[in-house]
Structures are given as C-alpha cells and as structure tokens.
Amino acid sequence: MTDPTPTPDPNVDTHVPPDATAHVCDRCGRPFVYETHLALHRGLDHADDLTAEEREAFEAAHEEEVADLRRFRLLALAALVILYFGFLMTYAVVT
C-alpha cells in the first residue's frame, strides 16, 4: 500500500510580474506582495534565527493581523446571521 506520487512540493512555485517590487525572504527566496506578509512568514517559518528587529516586525505584523482577523470575524458573523435569517424567512414564506 504505497502512494508515492503526490508528495509535498519542496519548490513553492511563484510568479512575480516584471513591473512589481516583491519583498523577498532572504532565507528561502519566497517573494511576497506586502512587507507584513514577509514579516509574518519569517516569524512562522524561520522562527529559530530571527534578529531582534525581525522579531519586532513579526510581532507588529501579528498584532495587525489579529486586528484584521477580528474585523473579518465580525463580517463573517454578520454574513452567517443574514444567511440564517434569510433562510429562516424564506422557508417560513415558501412552506
């Protein structure tokens, strides 16, 4: 019982448009659109050898991410409520 073919791809396949300036990770070479994404990536994937500056950048980016996530959760909750009551009313009217 072997499943040899689909293995995790070691080479993440990227494509940077020629006119864009990418923030490239100096450890693994992966490009990012935003500096905050690069800071998060460094903190998550290269957590063992961060400079003090990079750690600070990671923590700042992480705080920003948490705030954004909170905003997203509110929107998602609103969408759930709308869907729930939308279906409830539709079922009440139709059946």
């Binding site: 499943d3 993440v12 961060l50 750690r55």
Partner: protein
C-alpha cells in the same frame, strides 16, 4: 511562533461552539434535503430552487464557520495526527495477488459462459457490486490497496519489459483521457446489463494494460496512463491508512490532503474530471438533457455526437471553472504564488466531494445486491432463476446518503482551510485565497443537488 501565545481554554470553547453550530446546520440541512430527495413525489415539498439554495448555503456557511478556526497550531495538529501500523507480511501479499488474478480470470470466463442476464451473471455482480461499489469505497474509507491487489499489476510485474522511456511531456494526461474513455463506454453502452460486453471490455482493458506495461515499464504505466491506478492513488490520499517510505500510517481521514501538492495541470485535470464524470452520468438522465438531445438530433446531428460534444465540452468547462477559481483565489489573496501552484494545492480538497458522491450513489445497491452476489457466487454457471436481493432499504437510508454527500463537502471545506493555512503567512490571506475554491464547491453542490432532485429520465438514443 515567537511570543504568540495559545489560549487553550479559548480554543476549546471556539471548537465546541463550532462543532455544535456545524451539527445544528448539518442537522437542519439533512432534515430539509432528506425530505426533499423525493421532492417530485411529494407535492408539499420545498421547491427545487430553495432546495438548491439550501445545499449551496450549507457549503458557504461551513466555509464561514471554518474561517473562525484561526489557531495555526490547532489547524496543523488536526492534519499532523498519525500513528504507525504494522505492515502485512509478504505471504499475505502474494496470497492476495493470487486470489485477485484468479478472480479476474473467473470474472472474464463467467462473463462469456454464464447466463446472459446481468443480475444473474457473476461477472456483472463482481465488477459493479463488489468492485465498483464496495472495493472502490474501501480505497478512500480504508486505504489504497490497489497496487497490492490489482490483478493487472500482478500479471504485469511478472512479464518482461522493453523499458522504453515514457515520454515525460505527456505527463499524466493519458490517464485523464483513459478516465474519460472508460466512463464514456460505461455511459453509452449497456455495460452493467450485458455480461458478454463487460467481459470483452475487461479483456481489452487487460490487453492494453499489459501491452503498455511491457513497453514503458510497470511503474511509468500505472503512474501516468492507467486511470484506475491514478484514481485509487488519489482516493488513497483521503483514506485513514496510508503508506509513506514503505511503512503504513494511521491518520485522520483527509489528514494527508493539505500536504498533497499534485504534480501538474495533468493531475489537476484528473481530479476535476473525476468530479465531472459523476455529474455527466447523472446529467444525461435528466429531462432537460433528453429534450436538448432530441431537439439537436432533430436538426440532423447524430445523437451520439451530441452526447460526445456535451461530454468533452462539459469536461473542458469544469476544468476552466476550476482554473478561473484558482485565479480568483490568487488575486484575492494578493500573493506571488502562481495560479498553477494554487490549483495543484487546492485540487486535493475536491477529492472528499467525489468520494462522498461515490458512496452515496453506490452504498445502497451494494446492500441490496449483496445477497444476489452471494447466491450467484455459490453457483456461477447455474445461478438461481431469480436470485435473492434485499427487499428494500429502510426509509432513513436516503438521509444517510445525503449525509455522506454533506460529509464529503464539509471535509472538503476543512481541507481547503488547512491547505490555505499551510500556504500563506497571513491568516486573512488564507481565508481570502479560498473564495474561488469555495465558489466552485457551492456551484458544484447546487448542480449535483439539481440532478438528484430531477426525476430520472432514461437517456434517449443510447442503449444503457
């Protein structure tokens, strides 16, 4: 994780709330749709559009609920869970292969020599009930045992090989073509009713497979060309038992999928085609299709060409839709990861959906025809005139089938979520990257539910 702290209590509460909410939602949906699978019989049932909207809504809601799970360690822990298993011995493996080859020979022989009625012929029952219904389900419910059990592989490995190099530029595209060909034959010919025809198809398949393995070698053939091996390999990634570096592992169902990157567009096309062929099989049995094909055939086009055009066109459309979804995901996530790469990473999330439909479509007939298989198997050449079968399935069985479909969808949403978390450093980016693939899942659910809700119409012009 740096200084980021984990709040286990908080996580625990979120998970509890989430599972309760999921249970409530799936309960609601199953209750509604359960009553609806017979919508055409019951005049008081909910109208089709609302049935479809509910199905699509459940998938959308499960995406929203999954997006509330934002703890990276929790997401990773779910799919990293695993245990070692002992490997089966060599003797057992050889025995299994001998039995499998014997079964293939018996199936072909009885297909030609046994009675001509489908349900009294062991060949038809072995292929459609035991193998297609039962065994195929075991590849995603248990593990991919096909490389060990395949009689084709067993014979191929004992043959000499010319070892011609396999043309790499073909990739796994031949398996996509092979899958399309097999299902095409299944749709347009009475393969489930005519044992002689079934035996002939088996002989052709065996001959082509053995010739191919002799020319390009066993591994290249089963990796790239053989559609069955390819499908079972993918289903095996979904299964709780899997093999890495020659050892068996126990993992959660679907646990290996977020780590699975398909090799290229060919593999992606294969997964999408796997979903498409199920849809096509159902779609040609709808009233809409019957009227379309009659109208077009009335204009002088050969009916089979209409079927074939819709078949290839539909497969192309499915692939295109998935491609567009990957592009949408890429744009929404604002990433430099290529569209190709995202397509290869998210496609495994579609496999639980395919498995869910397979189980829902086949489990019932496996139960109903199991006594038939036993009775006919006891005397293959002189089976009883009307072999026994289960009188019927309890009424809750329809609900169970819908639960399988739903479970497949929920697992798919979760796999996409875990994949996105694996891909992106920002969790918001991860959520946004799933918009495309979630839209595809919602659309596919609604299409499939529409097909289920339509009354069955025998496809015109073909003999199946």
């Amino acid at each position: 994780m740096g200084s980021v702290s984990l709040h286990p209590r908080h996580v625990g509460r979120t998970v509890l709330a989430l599972s309760l909410a999921l249970a409530a939602w799936t309960g609601v949906a199953a209750a509604h749709t359960g009553g609806l699978s017979g919508a055409t019989r019951d005049p008081l049932a909910v109208p089709t559009w609302l049935f479809l909207l509910t199905g699509g809504g459940v998938v959308g809601v499960s995406f929203l609920l999954a997006s509330f799970v934002t703890d990276r360690r929790l997401v990773a822990a779910v799919h990293d869970w695993g245990r070692r298993l002992p490997s089966p011995g060599r003797a057992l493996r050889i025995l299994a292969r001998v039995v499998a080859v014997g079964l293939l020979a018996l199936t072909v022989a009885v297909g030609y020599l046994g009675p001509a009625t489908g349900v009294r012929n062991l060949a038809v029952l072995v292929v459609w009930v035991a193998w297609w219904g039962g065994y195929v389900a075991s590849t995603y419910l248990f593990g991919n045992t096909w490389p060990a059990l395949s009689p084709f592989r067993a014979v191929a490995e004992s043959l000499p090989s010319l070892d011609r190099p396999y043309p790499d530029r073909l990739g796994a595209w031949p398996s996509v073509a092979g899958l399309l060909l097999l299902v095409w034959v299944e749709v347009v010919t009475p393969l489930a009713d005519d044992p002689r025809l079934l035996a002939t198809v088996l002989v052709i398949y065996t001959t082509v497979t053995l010739a191919g393995t002799v020319v390009v070698g066993v591994d290249d053939w089963f990796d790239n060309v053989d559609p069955l091996a390819h499908a079972f390999r993918l289903y095996g990634r979904l299964a709780p038992v899997g093999g890495d570096d020659g050892r068996l592992h126990l993992r959660l169902p679907g646990g290996a999928l977020p780590d699975t990157a398909l090799r290229g567009r060919d593999d992606v096309a294969f997964v999408v085609t796997l979903l498409f062929v199920t849809t096509y099989d159902g779609f040609v049995a709808t009233g809409l299709w019957a009227s379309v094909v009659r109208a077009v055939a009335g204009a002088g086009v050969p009916p089979l060409a209409v079927y074939f055009g819709a078949y290839l066109g539909g497969a192309g459309l499915f692939y295109l839709a998935y491609r567009v979804a990957s592009r949408v995901g890429r744009r929404r996530a604002e990433t430099y990861l290529s569209t190709d790469y995202l397509a290869r990473r998210f496609a495994p999330a579609l496999l639980p959906i395919a498995a869910g439909y397979h189980l829902a479509h086949n489990l019932g007939s496996v139960f109903v025809l199991a006594p038939t298989l036993a009775a006919v198997g006891a005397a293959p050449l002189s089976p009883p005139a009307s072999p026994p079968q289960l009188a019927g399935l309890p009424s809750w069985f329809g609900g169970l089938e819908l639960a399988f479909v739903l479970l497949g969808h929920l697992l798919a949403v979760w796999v996409a979520h875990a994949t996105a978390y694996d891909l992106f450093p920002s969790r918001l980016q991860a959520v946004r990257s799933q918009y495309g693939v979630t839209a595809v899942m919602v659309g596919y659910t609604m299409l499939s539910l529409w097909i289920v809700a339509e009354p069955y119409v025998t496809p015109p012009f073909i003999a199946s």
